[in-house]
């Protein structure tokens, strides 16, 4: 199986760098990679950092099964809870919306249902570090995060590192 499925903890940065604040997850993974010297835990053999973009459901979550030694997934992504832009919120599996099964399109499979199933079926702990977005520009391209979301990156990184310890 792919190397990342042999880890105990996955950190997935989700979202698309091309659509404004949707790039939050990508920037988080980049920052975590930069901080590897400062935080030795990030170099642990048991942890994998992945820029999952919009392919997490497709390339990662749908390949997890009983053989996977995974015990925890930490997801960095934007949320839209109507909070002040840049506000960070930690969500657990019970906070994830219980969406009905969705079979229309393999491309737009929402993560929520898959995360619940992975938790239910294989006992994998799910933690989402969500950041309230200010602007997601899709379909228009914007390579920059808003200032509010940028300013939350350091705190989000600390929350992720706490989850790894």
């Amino acid at each position: 199986m792919p190397g990342y499925l042999n880890k105990e903890i996955l950190v997935l940065g989700c979202g698309n760098i091309l659509f404004g604040d949707d790039g939050f997850g990508y920037h988080i993974i980049n920052r975590l990679n930069e901080l590897k010297e400062q935080y030795p835990i990030l170099n642990s053999e048991k942890i994998q950092l992945i820029d999952a973009g919009t392919g997490a459901s497709h390339f990662i979550l749908s390949l997890i099964d009983g053989e996977t030694p995974l015990r925890k997934i930490v997801i960095a992504d934007i949320i839209d809870y109507g909070l002040e832009p840049g506000t960070l919120k930690k969500l657990y599996v019970e906070d994830i919306p219980n969406l009905p099964k969705y079979h229309v399109d393999a491309h737009d499979m929402p993560l929520a249902g898959m995360l619940r199933e992975i938790n239910d079926d294989y006992g994998v702990e799910i933690v989402v570090i969500g950041c309230q977005q200010k602007r997601v520009t899709a379909p228009d391209i914007l390579l920059e995060l808003s200032d509010e979301v940028t300013n939350s990156i350091d705190d989000a990184v600390k929350m992720i590192i706490e989850e790894l310890n």
Partner: protein, 410 residues
């Protein structure tokens, strides 16, 4: 009298599309239109002015399904524009990464069609096999590409680094397992497609999906810009091709080669390189199932041929003249995928264009549903495994540089 039937959305493929069909009183499709309704994006425009090295990173985000295919086409186009020739081992590794992507993608498509063709009693075994195959495909991408999804090792000039001898032997061993599974899968699927019977017992019309258009493929497993004359490729707007009320809903260009619609993908590759003559929707499924075996055989050949100590990346500067239009072609899972780029003396992109695999197939799928009952149309769509998110690109000029009615782009 006849009527218009709209199937919206079409399901179990990648992206948002619909079928707009004119059917006669017996339900037979007289005129078929297959439309992408994914919102238009402007990658070709926003890449202009960016450093060339950014292109593979950006185009990997065209959609979440084929990041490897797009990154590969992008670096190939930039290399061509800048006159860079990657070293042999770099190209072998890059080809192997692309094959890994296809070894994941084809079985995924076989999963998507399971509700159509696979009896309930066989599904667990069938899907277990698919999952094992997908894991191997992803293992290859992860190991050689450097990361599972947006492979950072795919660089202009070749690949960032080689793999260790132990990784090479693991890949070989996993390919052996994949080959066994792919053959089992093939033996299981071929009778189903040859019998043309859906899981509920409905017989599929013999000529479902037949068409007389051409096939376009440049290589059996990788891509070769020598095998296409890009001057013969023209992109038309929906307004040139569809009736206005249909064109206004369409979000892709219509490319033609020598004035002709062309099919791309597994069957096109098989027609070009394996003397495969079968026609129709079922033949695409058959070619795809065979291709799993072709891919894994080539993967093993590459591992044999690869010198893991060889150089993987050319050291030439990534600079062009701003004029030369580089061409990158890659045989993605869904077919012939073209990116074109020009790079200036400072290494910045001055022009970018992508004609992705499904862009070719979209207008052809509409035509291929004609002549049979509309209830079978979705099976034609699904046979092509369309990946529409990448295909949604649009130009506002037609082939004569005439501005197309601008209000439709606002």
């Amino acid at each position: 009298m006849g009527k218009t039937v709209e199937i919206n959305p079409t399901t179990r493929h990648e992206g948002h599309t619909k079928l707009v069909l004119k059917v006669d009183d017996d339900g037979i499709v007289e005129k078929g239109n297959y439309l992408s309704v994914t919102p238009v994006r402007g990658f070709e425009k926003f890449l202009v002015g960016k450093p060339a090295e950014f292109a593979p990173i950006a185009v990997s985000r065209f959609c979440g399904i084929c990041p490897i295919a797009h990154a590969t086409s992008a670096v190939e186009a930039i290399e061509d524009a800048c006159g860079i020739v990657p070293p042999k081992d770099g190209l072998l590794l890059r080809e192997l990464t692309g094959i890994g992507n296809k070894m994941h993608s084809h079985p995924l498509h076989e999963f998507l069609i399971a509700p159509d063709f696979i009896p309930e009693k066989d599904r667990v075994e069938y899907i277990t096999r698919i999952q094992q195959m997908r894991k191997t495909g992803q293992y290859i991408v992860d190991t050689i590409g450097g990361e599972a999804i947006h492979a950072p090792n795919i660089k202009v000039g070749g690949m960032l680094k080689s793999i260790t001898p132990s990784a090479a032997s693991k890949i070989y061993y996993k390919c052996k397992e994949f080959e066994k599974l792919a053959k089992e899968q093939l033996e299981y699927l071929i009778p189903i497609f040859e019998n043309r019977t859906l899981v509920d017992g409905t017989e599929i019309p013999e000529k479902l999906g037949y068409h007389d258009f051409g096939y376009l493929a440049t290589d059996s497993t990788y891509g070769n810009r020598e095998n296409i004359d890009q001057k013969k490729v023209h992109e038309y707007t929906p307004y040139d091709v569809y009736e206005k009320e249909v064109a206004v809903q369409a979000c892709t260009t219509i490319p033609r080669y020598n004035g002709r619609l062309m099919e791309v993908g597994p069957r096109a590759r098989f027609a070009k390189f394996h003397d495969f003559k079968e026609k129709g929707a079922m033949a695409i499924h058959i070619a795809r199932a065979y291709e799993n075996v072709v891919h894994v055989k080539r993967a093993m050949e590459i591992v044999d041929e690869l010198n893991v100590d060889g150089p993987t990346r050319a050291k030439d500067p990534i600079l062009g003249d701003g004029e030369k239009l580089g061409l990158g072609v890659h045989e993605a899972a869904r077919g012939h995928n073209t990116h074109q780029a020009s790079i200036d003396e400072k290494g910045r992109i001055t022009y970018y264009n992508a004609i992705v695999a499904t862009t070719w197939n979209i207008p052809l799928i509409g035509k291929a549903v004609e002549g049979t009952h509309y209830k079978f149309a979705e099976h034609v769509v699904r046979a092509y495994d369309p990946c529409v998110s990448c295909a949604t690109h649009m130009i506002s000029l037609d082939y004569d540089n005439k501005v197309v009615n601008e209000k439709y782009f606002k």
